[in-house]
Assembly symmetry: C2
Homo-oligomer: 375 residues x 2
């Protein structure tokens, strides 16, 4: 092994970065990235040049892999998303964009001339992916609360009944946490007698919330999704972006190609994939357990509700969707934006009550916000 040999100036650079991150951490209340994790017992695996190249369900010649753990993680997610037993496939991705890219790729291979419909509240990366993949697409209006405007969707589909639709559903929009209702979307398709369609669910954040609430909105395979992308570094938490994508197996089989070089059917996008991310996801799922996850999500939803009330009590027009940890309010004044790490867009901002966002942080944020509103 190579011994570390950084100059003292470079060591100081790293120390400075560490100090900066440590100071910023308690101010991170506006992004859906759970900071509450401890992967120290996995660090020893970073000694190896591990790589989960190719399909996790096939053997690979590159034996320094963690595919056995990856398959377990995928099975857990298949259960949580109510995937049809034995009829799904998936892999651990490098994050939400790759998962959405994969779902849209599968859809376009099914319907090469298909048109993708997505609401104007959809994350900007989706337009980027559609452009990259040369997929025809139409942006649908949003309702004020962030959900897709179902009337606009119906009208737009109605005048394009000759082209198979690819529905991109937000299971939790980035800014407002709104869930596009898969039951309503399916009903529109049925009503228009459109049999050929692919529904991709971008469940980056809410894909790890809705499995644990009493009355989830319709969002998963059982509700009609054909592919689902969920982030790992969001509700579960990880220091490196990662996620999971799942799709109905029949759809994936179309893009399978046998490649001897990696001794695997390469149905993934990335090829070389992190073998550490499956370990992190596995570690989170196993240490928390289903009851731990349920308690974690319940806590976030409870604190989100308290945050709404606290902000409203300060005269700030805060609100949130059912089953959402995203608390929306008017864009905060500059001093608040400078102290706290917030993701504003146009005239709104939001608090995202992740597991690491404590009541103390919420109270301090509300007090700062109220103070900055004083004339």
């Amino acid at each position: 092994m190579t011994r570390s040999n950084l100059s003292s100036a470079d060591q100081q650079r790293l120390d400075g970065l560490y100090a900066r991150l440590l100071a910023l951490r308690p101010r991170n209340v506006g992004y859906p990235t759970n900071q509450d994790f401890d992967f120290s017992e996995l660090f020893r695996f970073l000694e190896f040049s591990i790589n989960n190249v190719g399909d996790p369900f096939h053997s690979t010649n590159y034996r320094l892999n963690t595919m056995e753990f990856e398959r377990e993680v995928l099975e857990d997610f298949a259960r949580l998303t109510r995937a049809p037993e034995g009829e799904w496939w998936g892999y651990v991705t490098g994050g939400g964009t790759e998962g959405n890219m994969y779902g849209l790729y599968v859809a376009r291979e099914l319907f090469p001339e298909g048109i993708c419909y997505f609401s104007e509240d959809t994350h900007y990366s989706v337009a980027k992916v559609l452009r990259l993949q040369h997929t025809r697409n139409i942006m649908i209006k949003s309702q004020a609360d962030g959900q897709m405007d179902y009337d606009d969707l119906r009208e737009t589909l109605r005048i394009h009944r000759d082209v198979p639709p690819i529905l991109f559903a937000n299971i939790g929009t980035t800014m407002k946490g709104a869930v596009d209702d898969l039951a309503k979307i399916r009903a529109i398709l049925d009503d228009l007698a459109i049999a050929n369609a692919h529904i991709h669910a971008d469940a980056a954040l809410s894909g790890m919330i809705l499995p644990f609430v009493e009355e989830p909105q319709p969002w998963c395979f059982a509700d009609g999704a054909d592919s689902i992308s969920i982030s790992g570094h969001k509700m579960l938490g990880a220091p490196i972006p990662c996620g999971v994508v799942l799709a109905r197996k029949t759809h994936v089989d179309r893009i399978a190609r046998s490649i001897e070089y990696i001794g695997a059917l390469d149905t993934t996008i990335a090829g070389s994939r992190s073998a550490f991310s499956p370990l992190m996801l596995w570690h989170r799922l196993r240490t928390l357990g289903e009851e731990g996850l349920r308690a974690m999500v319940r806590g976030c939803l409870e604190r989100a509700e308290i945050a709404v009330r606290l902000l409203r009590a300060c005269g700030i027009d805060a609100w949130r969707h059912e089953n959402s940890v995203t608390v929306i309010f008017p864009r905060p004044p500059k001093p608040v934006m400078e102290k706290w790490i917030i993701a504003p867009r146009k005239d709104i901002g939001h608090l995202i009550v992740m597991p690491h966002v404590t009541m103390a942080m919420i109270e301090e944020f509300a007090a700062d916000f109220a103070a900055a509103m004083q004339p």
Copy 2:
């Protein structure tokens, strides 16, 4: 912080994985993944939910990032690839496929109707990317040594002079380490009076070899490349796939889009990107230094040459390209394939003499190979 709470059965699973990886490590001689690294002094950064979302050269609202280190890494790579000063852009990727996808995306945005030309020795992932991006493409014959057949390229370009070409050059093919000669490719383009072209260099492995040899083949920006992808987990070494993509700035500006949400121009493919990978690359570059890198590469090339001679002395028809650490030979018999981690393809196999592949490993491999050849 959450305390670890794995069951003892799960702890044993991890111990089993660790033991398995430890046993496999000394047998990994057939893949271009350097195992010789030690990132333990960076592990403390895995406490944070860091993320380099968006363009590394713009500020982002997500302040828990390592973009300052990423920019330094990119500057080093720009120097090593002889990028035009002040006229390049790039980012740290999740690996070679993303880098190639980016280069081909930039090229297709420049020439939406362009045809991509790549040799039959090109890694299978490139055909996958071209299909994903709906880019017209033509596979060019290879020479026996793995280089592109320049006569076939010339003839094929000649009959498509009405369409801008996108040249995909292998700077080290996967199986044979062959370098497609950029000077020859440029000369063909000039000869055919083709002014509009984009050359992407897939320098996954050799992009960290050729900057350190006396007489490199023409491969970099100074030799006519318009975009270059280099892997980080290959010659430098990393436990998680990563890499760098660089492109001429004028080409990238076309796909820049201003996005307020991340407070950045999102010109990357991934969106959320690992903030840990730039630290690993930075750490390798700073601990080795340019002289250390040069010595590391020289050592690999010397051992590769000894491996060729040793195998030939055993009656095995081994050979390698100039400036290449890839030693090619007929596909080894089954017992050799079972003991060693080798990537065969059709009737050939190869040893890739990475920094961790010692003389002792080479000698043991050659002895096993010779023994298995006995009748």
